[in-house]
Every structure is written in C-alpha cells, then in structure tokens.
C-alpha cells in the first residue's frame, strides 16, 4: 500500500468517526440539543426579560443584547465539553473504543473526529437559541468575528472534553470536571456583567479566565462592543485551543488511560 493510499484510508476513517459522533448527537437530540436550548431560553427570559427591564444598559446595550453573545458562548462551551467527555467516557468504559483504537487513524485525526461531535452539538444548540432570541435582539454587527469566537469556543471545549473523557475513570470524575472547572469558568467569564464594572481583585481575576476573552470577542461580533483588543481575545483563545488540541492528541498518541 502506498503512502497516498494509506493517507486516503485514514482520511476516510476520520470522516466516518466524525460522522458517527455527529449521528450520536442527532439521534439523542432530546438529551443533547433540547435541554441546553431550554436552559438558555430560561436565562434569556429571566435575565433579559424579567430582570432586564430593571437593569440599566450595560456598555450602551440593552441587557438582553448584552448577555446574548455570552449565553451563546456558554451554550457552545458546555455542550461541546459535555458531548465529548461523555462520548469518549462511554466508549472507554463500555469497551467499544477498541474498534477505533485498532484502526489506522492517526492520533490527531482521532482527536479531531471526536471533537467534531462536540462542535456540531454546541453550534446546533447555539443556533437554536440565537433564532429564538433574534426577535428581541439586534442584528449581528460583525458576523465573521461572531462565528470565529463561537468556533474557537467549540474547539477549546471539545478538546477539553476529549481530555476529560480520556482521563475520567469513573462517572464521578467525569462530572467533577464539568461541575468544578467548566461551569465556574463559564459563569465568571463575564457573560452576565462587564469586567470593567467589577472591583479589584475581581476585574483582574476575570481577565485570567480564558472564557472572558471568548465572551468579549463574541460580544464584539454580535454587538460591536468589547472591552479587550480583538486581536488579544482571538489570539489568546486560538492559542488555548491549539494547546488543548495538542494535549488531546498527545494523550491519544500515548494511549494514556486507554491502553495498558
């Protein structure tokens, strides 16, 4: 077999695994898409509708418009992470990951294929939330920036999901990362407030949270309003995405917690 034929086989294999992951998301849509959409809509109804009228504008924006980009980032992040950590954990704990581990796929292709499911799940849920919120929110100021921000969110958190799925040996460990690391990072990332309005040390601490930059750049894309330079937000989060992807690939290459 020539190198070209091998690479073609590997590409087909990676596409098939990505297809399997996306198919899992779609076939379980009542568990993968519906709940996050309902949660985000509730956030919008409570914070944007019920409380929004009592909160003054933030950065010159109505409160609902201010929080919508962050809610989309939150939705993509939580779903991309949950999808991949769960899918890999299940495949590992039920043993059927061996079908993939014996395949000729290269480690980076495995990582990318698993990440595809998380990115698709995050985007589908975010798209549903955006469509439901559209009548109450303004248009999208800079669509490319908005898509890039949500895309980077998907990449960062789906790679973290792969890492967690590889690491977790019990369901408790798997839940621990979601509850103790991911949720707090997202909630203190400036979804519901502007970092500039915080007192020290909270403003500085917020700026150490990578989610803050994802929220800020998404807000720039949707509303044109942002606190940090866009190059910094997008560059920093692209770097975090690259490091997370490289780590997931390295763990798969080593077979850490997958192969004895």
């Amino acid at each position: 077999m020539t190198t070209m034929a091998l690479e073609r086989a590997q590409r087909r294999g990676a596409a098939a695994l990505a297809g399997r992951e996306v198919r899992r998301v779609l076939s379980l849509w009542t568990q993968t898409i519906l709940p996050p959409v309902l949660t985000a809509v509730l956030f919008l109804a409570v914070f944007g509708g019920a409380l929004g009228a009592r909160i003054r504008e933030i950065e010159g924006l109505p409160y609902l418009e201010f929080i919508l980009p962050g809610l989309l980032v939150m939705t993509v992040a939580a779903q991309a992470f949950a999808n991949n950590s769960t899918s890999l954990f299940q495949a590992k704990s039920e043993g059927y990951i061996e079908d993939v581990l014996t395949s000729p796929l290269r480690p980076w292709q495995l990582a990318l294929a698993y990440m595809a499911g998380g990115v698709v799940r995050g985007f589908m849920a975010a798209l549903a939330v955006a469509l439901l919120a559209a009548p109450f929110a303004g248009g999208v100021e800079r669509p490319a920036i908005a898509v890039a921000s949500l895309g980077l969110t998907g990449l960062v958190f789906s790679a973290l999901g792969v890492i967690t799925g590889i690491w977790a040996e019990t369901f408790d460990q798997h839940s621990f990362i979601a509850n103790i690391v991911i949720t707090p990072l997202v909630l203190v990332g400036g979804v519901f407030y502007s970092a500039r309005t915080l007192v020290e040390p909270w403003e500085t601490l917020t700026r150490f949270d990578p989610v803050y930059y994802l929220v800020d750049s998404a807000r720039a894309g949707f509303t044109g309003v942002h606190e940090s330079p866009l190059w910094l937000s997008l560059g920093l989060t692209a770097l975090v995405a690259a490091v997370a992807f490289a780590t997931a690939t390295a763990l798969l290459a080593r077979g850490w917690r997958l192969k004895p």
């Binding site: 091998l6 086989a9 014996t102 192969k259 004895p260």
Partner: protein, 248 residues
C-alpha cells in the same frame, strides 16, 4: 536465513517484553513467527500472556517499536500494520448506538473503506454469518452466539490478511462452536487468510490449527505442528503435549 520481517511471515514477534504499571510481567522476551497463510493456535493457561500478545499486535496494548512486525510492517510505528490485522477480542464490546449492520459498516469505514464498498461487504458478511435477519437490530438485543458471530464478522470486515481471534468460542454451546469452526475453516481455506487463534479448548486447536504454540509465563515454551509436538513431548494427544509443556 529467511526474512522474518518480510511478507512471507504474517507475524514476527522479536523478544517482546511487556511489564504493566502494577509490575506484572505479562510477556518475557517472547519470540514468535507465524508463516503467512497458516492457521496458528496459541495455547496457554489464564495469565500466560495470550491476550497481552494479541493486544500488542492489534494496537490495544502499548508495545515498543521494532518488536512486532505484521507482514513486514512495524506494528508500533506503521499504520499499514493496522489495516492488515482483524481482531475479534475475547470480551464482547459493541457500539450500542449502532445497529448490527452499522457496526460492520462503520468498522469498515474506520479502516478506510468507501461507503459503497463497506455496504456491500457488510451485506456479504451478514449473509455468511447468518445475521441478515438481525441487520437492523441493536447488538445488545442479540443472543451471545450471535454477538460472537458479529464480532468475528467485524474482524473480517476490512479484509485483513491476519485474523486474530482471542478465544472466539469461549462460553458458546457445542453446536455453535462447531458452526464457528466451519466458518473459520472456510475463511482460511478459500481466502488464504492467516489466522491466529487463542483457545483453552485443546480439541479446538487440534481440529483447526496447522501449527500450535504453547505459551507459559509470557514465553513460548514449544511450537510446531500438533503431530510434531505430540511426538516431541510424548503422549498420545495434543493435550498430553500441552500438559508436559506446562509442567516442564
């Protein structure tokens, strides 16, 4: 001297040692050569290293480079080796999100088959293993025997040249065991497939294997055609030769 890493040798294992994280010495400088086209049996007690050896060949157990060669390809470094091996593991783990037919199709596609080729091959194997009527059923709704057949069909899906079957008849009834033997003989005879079979059933090795190796404590203690082993070790049957090898 024959080229042990070349294409006339299906599997060549060169002084492979495997020590697990807990200190267990699973394989101890194990050496093995399986000629291409042969039906090869690996016999040994529990904990002898059979599953570790098979896992190392198929990529489920970490193994060092330049110790395992599949048709001349380094199993630890060259992805071509993966395409040449079809594994039916001892434990039955099947993707519960897929149907029986999809288990086969997705496996074929993970191994680089086109959608059309995978579809055709899956139908062919479903028929050969008498699973066509269960094509749209989820694997967890199959009987134990059917799942075992599906596992072997999956191993053959991407047309490997070396089928590695880890105790494929463990826990199946006598009738099904003989049925599986018939399939395995047919595959080996008609397609020239090299088969590496591990088993606890001596009569299974006698019935199927052209060559047999005895493994004990991570080393091959004897190897050859069953008749030669019986002659060399004394006794009347392969069972006697096996017991002699395990006691020596």
């Amino acid at each position: 001297m024959p080229n042990l890493e070349g294409p006339s040798t299906a599997l060549f294992v060169d002084r492979l040692t495997k020590v697990y994280g807990d200190g267990t010495h699973a394989l101890d400088a194990l050496e093995l050569r399986i000629p291409a086209g042969s039906f090869f049996g690996l016999l040994g007690p529990n904990g002898a290293g059979k599953t570790t050896l098979i896992g190392s060949v198929a990529g489920l157990v970490r193994a060092p480079a330049r110790r395992i060669f599949v048709f001349g390809h380094d199993a630890a470094r060259d992805a071509r080796a993966r395409l040449l091996v079809g594994l039916a593991p001892q434990e039955i783990h099947l993707d519960r999100f897929l149907t029986v037919r999809e288990v086969l199709v997705y496996h074929g596609r993970y191994f680089g088959m086109t959608r059309r080729d995978a579809d055709e091959r899956a139908d062919e194997l479903l028929e050969a293993f008498e699973l066509t009527a269960k094509a749209t059923t989820k694997p967890n709704r199959l009987s134990g025997g059917m799942r075992r057949r599906l596992l072997i069909a999956r191993a053959l899906m991407h047309r490997p040249r070396l089928a590695v079957l880890d105790e494929p008849t463990a826990g199946v009834d006598l009738e099904l065991r003989h049925e599986l033997w018939r399939y395995l003989r047919k595959l080996h005879g008609e397609q020239g497939l090299t088969v590496l079979l591990t088993t606890h059933y001596i009569e299974e090795a006698e019935a199927l294997c052209e060559r047999v190796a005895f493994i004990r404590a991570g080393r091959i203690v004897d190897e050859g055609p069953p008749a030669d082993l019986v002659e060399r070790r004394g006794g009347e049957r392969l069972e006697d030769a096996y017991l002699s090898a395990m006691r020596s």
